[in-house]
Assembly symmetry: C2
Homo-oligomer: 154 residues x 2
């Protein structure tokens, strides 16, 4: 993460928004780190929704968390699977299997499925009804798992 900060985030923020490279110009290691950041942040927000479903339900927290999941799922993360990101780059490790890069059409479909499920989750969360969220949450979890089982190493 340090390297990513040194280039992307610091370039964007510390230098007054003037020097950030185009997204397409992210190095392979930056692409790997950025996609992992997206999944990690999505996972945190999935975890909050789960905790709300199992404990006291805070509709505002669930709505905010579902918005994160939907926004990240629909952010075009395919751009972060460019050439050179199919294997570890120095200290930056990836768990993406080689099969992922050989089946981009299938991966794209799985990614769209996730986007659809995540949008449904956000819509359910906006109603504030826990039961609707519970079902939509399970669908998002299934969409995550569908890709992990095929294309992510343990």
């Amino acid at each position: 993460m340090k390297h990513l900060y040194a280039s992307t985030a610091a370039g964007l923020m510390a230098l007054g928004l003037a020097s950030l490279a185009l997204a397409a110009d992210l190095s392979p290691e930056e692409q790997i780190e950025t996609r992992q950041a997206g999944y990690a942040f999505m996972a945190w927000n999935m975890g909050k929704i789960k905790a709300n479903l199992e404990g006291e339900y805070n509709a505002d927290q669930v709505r905010a968390a579902a918005n994160v999941v939907a926004a990240i799922a629909n952010s075009g993360m395919g751009a972060l699977y460019g050439p050179g990101t199919d294997k570890n780059v120095g200290a930056v490790k990836t768990r993406a299997k080689p099969e992922l890069f050989q089946n981009l059409e299938d991966v794209g479909k799985l990614a769209r499925d996730l986007g659809t499920a995540a949008n449904a989750l956000a819509a359910a969360a906006a109603t504030g009804e826990a039961n609707a969220v519970k079902s939509a949450f399970a669908d998002v979890g299934a969409a995550c798992k569908a890709c992990h089982q095929k294309y992510r190493a343990d």
Copy 2:
């Protein structure tokens, strides 16, 4: 990031959504990694908006990116600055200054300012008008910088 995946993401996904700890139960290092993930993913999306403003404008990409920035900015990241996250934890480094943890009221205000600016950016992006986005984008950048200057080490 590896440690985060081993616990949070893998716990959520690989184990069938059954074993994720409550958000409040994230370890200090997981909190640091998760907040850095959020900022990194936000930075990637800010970078895409910047690239669109400077080059060919793709309204769909800008809308998606602005939704990410707004969702992350409003995700309650204050929960990721818990006890023990004010210093490096083993190999997990933080650039948060000690002053941040001594001025939580001011930090909260700056965070709310970011949320407000990010929501305005998402609203501008939804219109598809580049000029409105340009101004709202600058406001988000200023909100980022206001906190970095005070509370983030170089």
